[in-house]
Amino acid sequence: MSLVHHLPILVVLVPMFVAPLLAAVPSRGHLPWLIASLTSLMTFALAIGLTGQVLAHGTVTYELGGWPVPFGIGLAVSPLSALMLLVITGASLMALLWGPASMTSEVGHQHQSLLYASWLLALCGLSGIAVTGDAFNIFVFMEISSLASYVMVAAGPKRQALTATFKYLITGTVGATFYLIGVGYLYMMTGTLNVADMAVRLADVSSTMPVLIASGFILVGLALKAALFPMHAWMPNAYRFAPTPVAIFFAACSTKVALFVLIRFDFLILMPHLPGHADMLIGLLMPLSVAAMLVGSTVAIFERDLKRMLGYSSVAQIGYIVLAFSLLSTAGLTAAIVHIFNHGLIKGALFMAVGTLVLRTGTSRLDDLPGIGKTMPLTTLAFCLAGVSLIGVPLTAGFISKWYLISAVLEHGSLGLVLLGAILLSSLMAVVYIWKVVEVAYFRDPPAESGGGTPLGRREAPLGMMIVLWIVVGANFWFGLDTRLPLGLANMEAPLLMGGQR
């Protein structure tokens, strides 16, 4: 039993093991951050190793407790899981490396160890969802990550963080319970909880109504978790009022984990055996995703707070992902998977840039930041470059996503043209809201310094922060040129998912 054999569980186990230690042992200063970062780094390394395994051998499985599935809980790391793991652990690592100064300035030193323990628990929960192959186990780990998220969002510096958390908690719990009920119906009809086994046994189920209900509950529950329009109300404020590093972490990965689960359920379990499910997906998800793209972008244009603007932009971006997989084609799935990866990079970079501005200026309101491009040129430039990637200009990661999305859409004839129009319109809106920032940042004069430029202290952020920010911005361009990793995994996964469909 080599270490390689244990890789799938180790990714979950490492943060899981460190978190209680970190919470219980009182530590001061930057020590909790250091421990969390090292743990996150280790998890990231393990995720890379696991991805290598998956690339070499295909889906990797692991039986917990040595019990054969479906009697015990099995882990199943498909290519998509590996990609999710990379996104999750990478997002956690970059947010942690970026964040110590920001975290300290926003929540203070007190109880940082509790906060970073929650961070590791969230990391553990999200990775746990990515690797598991058991429907109920997903619920358990979803709850770990959700509870840890509530804790971290509630630690935000403003009191609105509390109301935002409460809304998040209610929505998240309703979503998770919907999912639980959905799994209950599936279990009722199949007698098993293992995802792969469910797919096999569902073939013999004749009565469709309970399965239909199951699919409805699971869809709504996960859509709540994924902040799919019109169930996105909790998200912008949760991101706005959370401590910035937390917002970076979640913006880059957490909603996508719910989409990942949704993709798995829809394609592996329901699509092959539930008649009319494909029509339901197309009829329901496609309009919703188009609405998400347009509404999210429109609100983002009029939003005057940068973090909320990015939150609404995420609503639109989730729309892209959902649109891509609701096309129900291999090309669409590839586009969705690639965008899950790329959007993590883009939103991470954007939130980081905004967070850097917030650290130095203490505000994320656009109107308070005129001429910021002159006082903080590097940060603002990073924001603009990440924004370029969001819009989808060639040579950026965003372009790759758009390219695959558009080519997938165009397979669908006249419907495809309509969708193409929506995509282009939404991208244009992205140009508008990014430009809005550029205009304020570069074409307005910074306010006259009132007495030596102290209170706002407008200068560039600490070096460490800048380095991380620029690495992520650089990654946006790197993955715009070298698409082997996300595309390779997507190309492995898409046929697996479509395979269930004959």
Binding site: M1, P20, A23, A24, G65, L114, G128, F136, I144, I213
Partner: protein
Amino acid sequence: MITVLGLFTLTFLVIAALATVQSRNLFVASMWFCIFSLMMAANFLILDAADVALTEAAVGAGVSTVLFMGALSLTAEHEHVRERSGWLPALVLGLLFAVLFAASFEQPRLGDPLAPVHQHVAPFYLSETPRLIDIPNVVTAILASFRGYDTLGEVLVVFTAGIGVLSVLSFSPKKNQQLSGEGVAERVRGVQHHAILRVAGKLIIPLLMLFALVVQFHGEYSPGGGFSAGALFAAAVMLYGILEGADRSAKAMPQDWMLRLAALGAMLYIGVGIVCMMLGGNFLDYSVLSSKPVAGQQLGILLVEFGVGLTVSTVLIMIFNAIANRSTY
């Protein structure tokens, strides 16, 4: 006979739920919720789920009622008249109920031995547990071994909630007045003017703790296990806190020690799993813990159940202390 009982508890369940939602006085609502949970527990018992009934009675009717009461004493007694228009949600929910109602006719009826849930995985547990693990309570066998990973996740959920409550209630812009003023102490010093209540209550506490220990360590043979035992033990401490004042219970069970013990419980669980890995098995494969796989399973189950009980009880105590020791604003 049991049908009548089932009908009664189920119907009363709905009545209790309606009354909970209806009543504007929040204390009354939380009492109704307590009744709701008790009815739920009774119903679980009728449906042959003794373990769940025990846990629901301890957690739903006991602990959560105490938590609701504690929160209410810090917030508000009355709900204001609602301002939202309720007809659209009511319509949607009505439709939802109609759909669920319609679907129920395609679901296997209650107790149908041919239902899929009784076909595939469940018979394996029932027939193989005597051979593989050899403990009488199959629920415990699944909980701690077959699906031990879920239970580990569960322990972490509880642990997260514990550190969450600690951190949420400590992040306070205005440094919280932790029980210093005399007036504050008077308010929370339990029910001191009720001598009989205190004496009687204190007689119950040791019995309750004893029962918790029985439930903990007898959980392999009879209904029970870490979750219910932890909740019962915490209930005993909460009773003490209610009778004698939460400051005393916090003194008896200091928060930082509770936090450490909670972490210890989780670490114990994870540690057992890691030891299994080191001995050459998969994570949480207790069979390798002893030369005989069955003995290894039993040892592993005993240890992880203890970890569960430790974490659940300490976290619940911690949450109670944190909420009950907060003074009104």
